[in-house]
Symmetry: C2
Subunit: 435 residues, 2 copies
């Protein structure tokens, strides 16, 4: 359980130009990434303002020792899986040391400057080689909204308040922010026709999700108890679970979504650590009267007290016409991670209860996190009530689902009185026409 | 498309003792594997009779050249992913050369002998590092039988005859034959109770499946056409998709199976090549009158003519009491890969139609392959009609589902007049009590 310490001190400032005013990456954040410079190999770094600190260079410059060095040594390659496998202590030591080195009163400023690269000149990659990707469904307002489209009187299935519902996603097609997403072709069947046709999805959608990076993990057959589940979280990101609603509606019974989801999943490339998010921990929201208590394996007092997160989430839409007219992005939704019915620890305890093994660098998605009200709905399916009511943009355009050329941007920020706000960076992609 | 050649000649015999009479691994088979000898590292090999030929040793002994050497060079490590990525030509060249070296008239017998290890002294490992594992549902009799338990009048959902239904499985918990399987604990809810309880599954089942190893694969966004899909198959194995029916019934809506399947999946360790199976190719069975024709992207004449396989499948049950009484294993089912409604090529074309990328060493499961009649049903759920009618064993025991200590063995053989029979080896595991 990360403690609040001097790395969270709002008085701590950085000597890196622009870092203190950076909306995402002030010195209180320090997220990890895998980056490459022109002509260079992908390797581990840490964001500070608009720069990336090269961990391999910092090691070579003798800036790190003991546990901090141990963590940084794992970052020379193109994946952070080994760093994730070390658990919290080395990661925390590295973050604390970097916070000192980057602070105004650092005596090593000269040496550290040589380890920084402008982020704008770098390519950001996926931070881990993802062994398995699991997508949950813990956004209860999303589950209710989607259920209402099918079952107006009984939107939530009976298992929802007992089981942190999840399913296995596709790891091979997870891509990093910025990679364009091709509109998928698939089988489409309208209710008016007897047989499906093949064509590009006409109901392409995004989903606003929190991503969770798995740390050490567990051996096959050895469940992770809720009491220790927090130790298994290496960090967080934003996740856009692109969804082709028409393909999904026709294919999903009885075994769940398949081609409707596996054409692409976009992640923000920064690994925001549990340590950086410590100020934004919060109590799990009280369950509404009448909801069952979580079963014992999902129930732990400290999880209920600090296992939830209070992170503001945002979805922006940029259309070619908005851009051409010089209009700002259209904000589709403001939501918050507090609207997760199950905490990340509960997701981990549930995932492993039958013995399933999680491995370092595995990825969990939260499922779409919608706020209770329409201005916080985390997918177009919900915003337009299944494509019925169009969203109107300042350009005069309408959207029922995404069109070719549209760009979707997800953002997240921890905001709390008495603390410096930190952000997740962007999760962004543009829709290309079907091939 | 593998051709019939001298490697399939039934007159070809091997100098390796016992190979000609071996039920699985005569010289006409030559499946790949990853094996280790006591104290040695896992590496690539090929089965011949009761021995494994060490590919790294064969290379060092200068027994291989050109394409055959190129394939063998990829087999020095603990995974065959790189060999799979090379596609068919090097694999075929290696198989042809090994067939010569192991044949009665080989002039290299002395050198080859030094490359053989008795299989009984080796450990067999998973042949690839599995990036993603996808499970299909192409056994139409299974889908019908399971559907009947829920919808007696309308067992098959409307999408079944259009969509090769599939879903993503868990790669981390795929294990090799012989590894014991722990009975999973999960949420169980009887229809009589309002709330679930937590306990060991009481309805633990196996599923008889064909596994398909993916070769070169495709780039994200670039579908594999049915006409070239055969080139993407690196080999086949047996797959036991263990299933906890009670956990599944409660959790699976709306997103599909999760903990009911992800506690373990067992594979036979031998990669039986498309070349070895060439004699057992067959035409795709004619669809019953009234069934729709496959959509164009799933339809290719050569797939219809030779895209199906005629492989006999078998499930055996060994209980502790059967063993104690000296009784033989109980044969639960005899089935055949001909009962797949969709061919492996159709599965690949469908999987990638929306752009999803397959990577070398990925694994596809067929779904349970049941024969039309009860003596060929590929799961206990079907054999006992959902646990209603027990299976009776010669020991006097009954089984509705699997009990602790039970061992399930899957076997497969290609049998065809004019050809030597070949087998897949065993896919075997024993159920351990819940932790």
């Amino acid at each position: 359980m990360p403690e609040l310490d001097s790395t969270h001190d709002p008085a701590r400032r950085s000597w890196v130009p622009g870092a203190d005013a950076h909306p995402d990456f002030p010195i209180q954040n320090l997220p990890f990434c895998i980056f490459s410079t022109p002509g260079g190999e992908p390797r581990g770094g840490v964001a500070i303002g608009d720069a990336i600190l090269d961990l391999t260079k910092a090691l070579a410059a003798d800036l790190l020792s003991s546990d901090a060095a141990r963590a940084a040594e794992t970052a020379h390659g193109p994946h952070l899986n080994v760093m994730f496998s070390l658990g919290g202590k080395p990661r925390q030591a590295l973050r604390s040391r970097l916070s000192q080195l980057l602070a105004n009163d650092s005596s090593e400023k000269g040496k550290v400057e040589g380890c920084l690269f402008p982020t704008a000149e770098c390519v950001l990659h996926l931070p881990s080689r993802i062994g398995d990707y699991t997508d949950f469904y813990v956004g209860i307002h999303h589950a209710t909204n989607v259920g209402k489209l099918f079952r107006p009187d009984n939107p939530l299935l009976p298992n929802y308040k007992y089981v942190p519902i999840g399913y296995h996603g596709r790891a091979s097609s997870v891509v990093s922010s910025g990679a364009p997403v091709c509109r998928p072709t698939g089988q489409l069947k309208s209710s008016a026709e007897a047989a499906p046709i093949v064509g590009p999805s006409q109901r392409l959608d995004y989903e606003l999700e929190l991503g969770i990076w798995i740390g050490p993990g567990n051996e096959l057959g050895e469940p992770i108890a809720i009491e220790t589940a927090a130790d298994e979280i290496a960090g967080y990101c934003l996740l856009n679970d692109w969804s082709a609603r028409d393909i999904q509606a026709w294919e999903y019974q009885p075994l769940g979504p398949f081609l409707s989801k596996n054409f692409a999943t976009t992640l923000s490339p920064w690994v925001v650590t549990p340590e950086a998010l410590a100020p934004f921990r919060t109590a799990q929201p009280k369950r509404p009267a009448g909801d069952p208590s979580p079963l014992p394996y999902l129930l732990d007092q400290s999880d209920q007290e600090t296992g939830a997160l209070d992170i503001d989430l945002e979805v922006l839409l940029i259309t070619p016409t908005l851009k051409r007219k010089g209009l700002p992005p259209h904000r589709l939704a403001l939501s918050n991670t507090r609207y997760m019915y199950w905490t990340p620890r509960q997701m981990i305890a549930h995932h492993t209860m039958g013995g399933c093994n999680l491995r370092p660098g595995d990825l969990l998605g939260s499922g779409t996190i919608s706020a209770p009200d329409p201005d916080g709905f985390g997918s177009m399916l919900e915003l337009t009530q299944g494509g019925t009511n169009a969203v109107r943009l300042a350009s005069g355009e309408e959207r029922r689902f995404l069109e070719d050329g549209d760009e979707v941007v997800l953002r997240a920020h921890g905001n709390r009185a008495g603390y410096v706000s930190i952000g997740f960076g962007e999760c962004r992609a543009t829709i290309l026409p079907a091939r």
